[in-house]
Symmetry: C2
Subunit: 150 residues, 2 copies
DNA sequence: TTGAAAAAAGATAAATTAGTCTTTATTTAT
DNA sequence: ATAAATAAAGACTAATTTATCTTTTTTCAA
């Protein structure tokens, strides 16, 4: 469904939203451990998220780390996917046809249209903060690990 | 969304359903050209489809080629995905968590559950023949090319 | 103003997926 | 029986994605 990059991007973003703040920046090691992802690779992905769409903010040096601004928290989940170049799920044809549209639909188009619209809804109407809130409900989990909300 | 393998598998299967029959078997070159896919690679995929789930049938030698049995035509689209090992879309967690379930849901679980159910519906309730019929409606297209139904 | 802590950037490696080519086996027709 | 047509099987190459390691830059605190 999604690439590893996209999965890590989402998990990392949710984790940062949940545990980080401007005066509690999180280090890459903590993040990678928490979401159970390869550290260096996750670092690369966070770089993408800081460069594109301003999803994640970062500062270097002592007490540096990653956090989300209030504005970033309001961004739709789609912004995360876009930042890692992975929004094809809601833009491309299921059968991979370049030219597939209402006027020239592929054999699955009719059926998939509605589902695609819902995926789009989900990724556009849900904000990063919304996901963090879900995660905060206690029983909800990132990577098999209960996250303690402060 | 889907891998190239899965896309080619679906396109090839639909094409064979539409144009082939037990006494009009289709050659790999025709198929690959028609669905605009790399020939040798598509051959590999058709091998998978003949070995797994009996989606496609084939015979070698002169006048050999690929076709679908009547039974195969009734198979759900999911059988094609399974045959190429690509049914993760309807089985796996969006965030890639190993342990994500009703009792231990990931932050997107609630939202995605319904969509996943619909994807499953689509892939399980739609048969290969159904897709071929769609394709037969005339304006519908495999790979930007109008397929002439006899 | 120096040292240490952090992310950024860059270079490389490993794994997976996609794609190609060659050889073999099977089938049909002559 | 033999030759030709075809898919199957296997070996190989290329591209992309995933992952790791090293070096550089920035920032803070002593």
């Amino acid at each position: 469904m999604l690439s590893k990059s996209a999965e890590y991007a989402l998990r990392a973003t949710i984790y940062i939203a949940l545990k980080g703040s401007e005066d509690n920046k999180l280090g890459i090691d903590e993040i990678a451990t928490a979401i159970d992802s390869p550290q260096y690779f996750t670092a690369k992905i966070l770089q993408l998220l800081t460069k594109n769409n301003g999803v994640v903010s970062s500062v270097r040096g002592p007490n540096g780390g990653f956090y989300l601004t209030d504005a970033a928290r309001k961004l739709p989940v789609r912004a995360v996917l876009e930042a890692v170049g992975e929004d094809g799920i809601i833009t491309k044809c299921v059968l991979g046809l370049k030219e597939c549209s209402e006027s020239r639909p592929c054999p699955m188009h009719e059926q998939y249209r509605y589902i695609k619209a819902q995926l789009r809804q989900m990724f556009e109407k849900t904000s990063i903060q919304d996901l963090a809130n879900e995660s905060g409900k206690g029983k909800i989990v990132i990577n098999n690990r209960q996250i303690k909300t402060k």
